[in-house]
């Protein structure tokens, strides 16, 4: 029998705010343990939560970026369970009436454009961290993360392969980065994804029994984990068995899944509306502000780039990989009015140099205006492409503006026929054999001779002119 894989995901995204969700403390990653705590996020007796408007705004932006229906009224709820890193003994979240529902995300699956429906988006607070390796023989608790604002995004079971899941998550991550709501770092835990997976015979519409995969911390990890689980479920079903509903934990080091003990998952969370917090009411002003905050999202931008700058779909895709790169490109393209050249430079020399320096478009020291100047010098023939690469490195190293560097190092392109002809004569003298063979019809040797002239000029000679002059001289 042929089986179809059905996957839905639950994604937790840490919102980029200065304050925790219900108190004034800063959410931080990697500071001293318990340095960012207060009576509210410690759950001290008598402390009360108050909702942080910034976090709410970012959550609304997220929901709008996912094309959700955002509800004017949603309800905070308590999810009750005991755990040492959960200071109040309950997590404040949203349950029966979430912030938003009924959205979708378009992404590029292996089979082309695809759509995943978003069931719901809700706001909740994060728990702290239990640290098992810091104090010998004991579990330590770090509450820096406790109370950090999250949105949880729940999809419908619309994904059909592990590779699709990975592609969807990477498009979702890009979308959230564009919306500027989160750092979206899986390594740092600011983006976490769990997956529900089941199989069914192709052609059947009813869903099979699903298992849940948790504890994955990379896109490749989730793809691998799903591949393993799909293979396992296939074996079970082919062998006439039944898939049991259970939670599986991914072990990244061993690249394997383990069953969660039933004790760990048998929770009755006893949800009820949090009496400390009135319903979350979104005013028209807040909704309008959130709408105006939504930037152009990746797919729209990619489409516009092909139209407005006459780029290929591939180039537009590369340049919209991140919002920073797209912004960078667009600024260069607008300043130089040479969008093609700008695209080639950014995808070529600039990207290579950024990679070498461990930087991205947001941090690269050669800012768009400067790159535009450099491209301008190439476009008007002042310097050659080859020289421009050297200049780019020098600019990145802080040696000055492109013009200054060109002037200081004397890198200006040489087009004076007298100087060019002198180099040509030297080359013909040095390579009489090649010159003769060219004259005898071996025209492909022209490239070699031009190259020799370029070398003699330290790259400063205008190659087109050298080309013409050489042909005349030997013609």
């Amino acid at each position: 029998m042929t089986w179809e894989c059905v996957v839905g995901v639950e994604v937790h995204v840490q919102l980029r705010t200065d304050r925790k969700l219900f108190c004034l403390d800063r959410p931080v990653f990697g500071d001293e343990p318990n340095a960012h705590v207060c009576p509210v996020c410690l759950g001290l007796p008598g402390a009360l939560p108050t909702a942080n408007g910034d976090a709410v705004r970012l959550a609304v932006v997220t929901a709008l970026a996912l094309d959700c229906r955002v509800h004017a009224e949603s309800i905070w709820a308590r999810k009750n369970y005991f755990y040492p890193d959960l200071p109040k003994g309950y997590q404040i979240t949203q349950f029966e009436r979430p912030l938003a529902t009924d959205g979708h995300v378009d992404f590029d699956s292996a089979d082309g454009p695809s759509r995943v429906r978003i069931r719901r988006v809700h706001i909740e607070e994060d728990a702290g961290k239990s640290v098992h390796d810091r104090v010998p023989g004991a579990t330590a608790v770090d509450l820096n993360r406790a109370g950090t604002p999250l949105v949880e995004i729940v999809t419908e079971p619309d994904l059909r392969s592990p590779a699709d899941v990975r592609a969807f998550l990477s498009d979702l991550k890009r979308l959230l980065e564009y919306a500027d709501v989160s750092d979206c770092s899986m390594e740092q835990g600011s983006l976490r994804a769990d997956a529900n997976v089941s199989l069914r015979p192709v052609g059947v519409t009813a869903l099979g029994t699903k298992t849940e995969i948790k504890n994955v911390n990379s896109f490749s990890g989730i793809e691998r984990a799903l591949e393993i689980e799909v293979a396992r479920q296939t074996d079970v079903l082919e062998g006439g068995g039944r898939v049991r509903p259970e939670t599986l934990l991914w072990d990244d080091h061993r690249a394997s899944l383990r069953r969660m003990r039933s004790k760990e998952e048998s929770h009755d969370y006893r949800y009820f509306p949090d009496p400390d917090l009135p319903p979350l009411i979104l005013t028209d002003e807040l909704l309008a502000a959130a709408r105006s905050y939504i930037p152009e999202l990746p797919r729209a931008r990619r489409e516009r780039f092909t139209r407005e700058y006459a780029l290929s779909a591939y180039d537009a895709g590369v340049l919209t990989q991140s919002r920073a790169t797209a912004d960078y490109f667009e600024e260069v393209a607008r300043t130089t009015s040479e969008p093609k050249l700008a695209a080639n430079w950014i995808m070529g020399g600039v990207q290579a140099l950024m990679n070498a320096r461990g930087e991205d478009a947001g941090t690269f020291p050669v800012r768009p205006g400067t790159l535009a100047d450099l491209i301008g010098l190439v476009a008007n023939g002042a310097i050659s492409d080859r020289v421009a690469r050297t200049v780019l490195e020098a600019v990145a190293d802080g040696e000055g503006s492109p013009l200054e560097i060109v002037a200081r190092r004397g890198l200006e392109q040489v087009r004076d026929p007298g100087r060019l002809e002198a180099w040509i004569e030297e080359v013909i003298d040095a390579h009489p054999d090649e010159a003769t063979r060219y004259r005898d019809g071996e025209t492909r040797l022209l490239g070699f001779l031009v190259g020799q002239v370029m070398r003699r000029s330290s790259g400063k000679a205008d190659p087109r002119q050298v080309n013409d002059l050489l042909r005349d001289r030997l013609g």
Binding site: P39, L42, G43, L44, P45, G46, A47, L48, P49, T50, A51, R78, N80, F82, P84, P87, K88, G89, Y90, T139, V141, D268, R270, Y271, F272, P275, D276, L277, P278
Partner: protein
């Protein structure tokens, strides 16, 4: 400026140390450490007692629980800060039923408080320590908290005035939560006028409590002296059952006659769903409590009882250090919220609550300014009389819980004696209409509390009920 507070502290220390003391206080200030933070404030130098479930930085906040025996809060409750800002001196923390769960103060882990009018009887609860401290003349005013009658019932039993304002009128920040949607800070004072003054001091919006109201705080003391001419006072027949003691009936009728003589119109009304109030309260209160008290897990603060593993530590800490009534309510509430029973219990109770609210709204919309009822079905009962019968104990709240379920303001004023013991009449008013409520209370008080007055039968060995009274026009 500190003379009165020093005398009060010295008197309390002497009285509480003597044989057969009231045990109204769990902690009393060091006379040397007393200070007035706002010498110009309206309560400058006035000694005030504070129920030990309101957080204070200068005393432990035990909530009458073994678990928090040594817990000291890093912050003052907002209402305590406002007391200090008004110049009041917090002279000590008063006894209470553990976590405010009880109607007799017998559920304190540190021993019961006795009624100053008859030491073989309970002072009521859960704010029994505060009521006894005022009735005994230790302090002119005290703060309590009222979740189902915990200010009004002990006020009635001890012959003092107890106000529970509208839900949201006073900040709950620093009030250790029992049932968040019902809890409200209240006042216990010798007179309506003092109650009005104290209420005005602690009331008003607090950005740290999302359920606190932004409405302006009126001059309650002025309202208390306004008189009842033209007011319509409803008498709900469900609160005067056939079974009511004829002595009580006579006191109520007497008070109503005097109000009528003062210009009020008395109108019989009905609140048909009040009969569901007790079961409704004993589902919702425990449900919220089961979640609110989850933080007392021995992980971060308070006492801990070690166990072989985390789960055992939780179980031992909570089963050893929490009292019987607290555990009873946690179990009731956990059950009421658990899967499969949630709708039947929690859901049904929420419906009943809405019906109770609708009853009040209908009566108040019909032109009734305030309601008059007995505060309790009878006077103070004997110590130990009801400890083995929780349901009988719960029924002492039968007339008070509806105000908490509806969130409306209510006050208990002495109206005479029953069997030689103080007895209180309760006035309820629409949301935010404390002024009408206090006008009626003031008139009831001025009309005379019938034979016997409200001073304790057996004078305590403490100081006479002197000390400075709050500034303001003479009563």
């Amino acid at each position: 400026m500190l003379t009165a507070a020093r005398e009060a502290v010295a008197g309390i220390r002497a009285a509480e140390a003597s044989e057969g003391s009231l045990h109204a206080f769990l902690d009393v200030a060091d006379p040397e450490a007393l200070r007035v933070e706002s010498p110009e404030g309206p309560l400058a130098g006035v000694p005030v007692a504070v129920k030990d479930n309101l957080t204070t930085t200068d005393f432990p906040t035990t909530c009458g629980s073994r678990l928090l025996e040594t817990y000291r809060s890093p912050f003052d409750a907002t209402v305590v800060l406002r007391l200090r800002d008004a110049g009041a001196v917090v002279v000590g923390k008063t006894n209470l039923d553990e976590f405010a769960m009880g109607s007799s103060t017998e559920n304190s882990a540190f021993g019961p408080t006795r009624n100053p009018h008859d030491r073989s009887r309970v002072p009521g609860g859960s704010s029994g320590g505060s009521a006894a401290a005022v009735a005994a003349g230790y302090v002119p005013m005290a703060l309590g908290s009222d979740t189902g009658g915990s200010v009004r019932q002990p006020a009635a039993f001890c012959g003092v005035v107890g106000i529970k304002p509208t839900y949201g009128r006073a900040s709950r920040y620093g009030l250790v939560a029992y049932a968040s949607s019902l809890d409200q800070v209240g006042t216990l004072t010798r007179s309506v006028d003092e109650g009005a003054t104290l209420l005005r001091t602690i009331a008003g919006h607090d950005p740290k409590d999302a359920t606190s109201s932004r409405l302006d705080v009126p001059d309650f003391a002025a309202a208390a002296r306004r008189g009842v001419d033209g007011l319509v006072i409803g008498v709900p027949r469900e609160y005067l059952p056939e079974s009511l003691d004829p002595e009580i009936r006579a006191l109520i009728d007497g008070a109503l006659e005097r109000l009528e003589r003062d210009g009020a119109r008395i109108r019989p009304v009905s609140l048909p769903h009040s009969e569901h109030a007790i079961p409704c309260y004993y589902v919702l209160g425990p449900a919220e409590a089961s979640s609110n008290l989850a933080r007392y897990d021995g992980v971060r603060y308070g006492h801990r009882v070690e166990g072989a593993d985390m789960r055992e530590m939780y179980e031992r800490t909570r089963s050893t250090l929490l009292g019987t009534e607290v555990k009873r309510r946690i179990m009731l509430g956990t059950y009421a919220l658990s899967a499969g029973y949630h709708d039947e219990y929690y859901g049904t109770a929420q419906k009943a609550r809405r019906l109770i609210v609708a009853d009040f709204r209908a009566v108040f919309d019909s032109g009734v300014h305030a309601l008059f009822t007995p505060t309790t079905p009878g006077p103070a009962f004997r110590l130990g009389e009801r400890v083995d019968d929780p349901v009988e104990m719960y029924l002492s709240d039968v007339f008070t819980v509806t105000a908490n379920l509806a969130g409306i303001p209510a006050v208990s004023v002495p109206i005479g004696r029953v069997g030689g013991l103080p007895f209180g009449g309760q006035i309820l008013a629409p949301w935010w209409k404390e002024e009408d409520m206090l006008a009626v209370a003031g008139a009831v008080e001025a009309g005379g509390a019938a034979p016997g007055g409200s001073s304790p039968r057996s004078s305590p060995s403490g100081p006479p009920p002197s000390g400075p009274t709050p500034t303001g026009p003479a009563r």
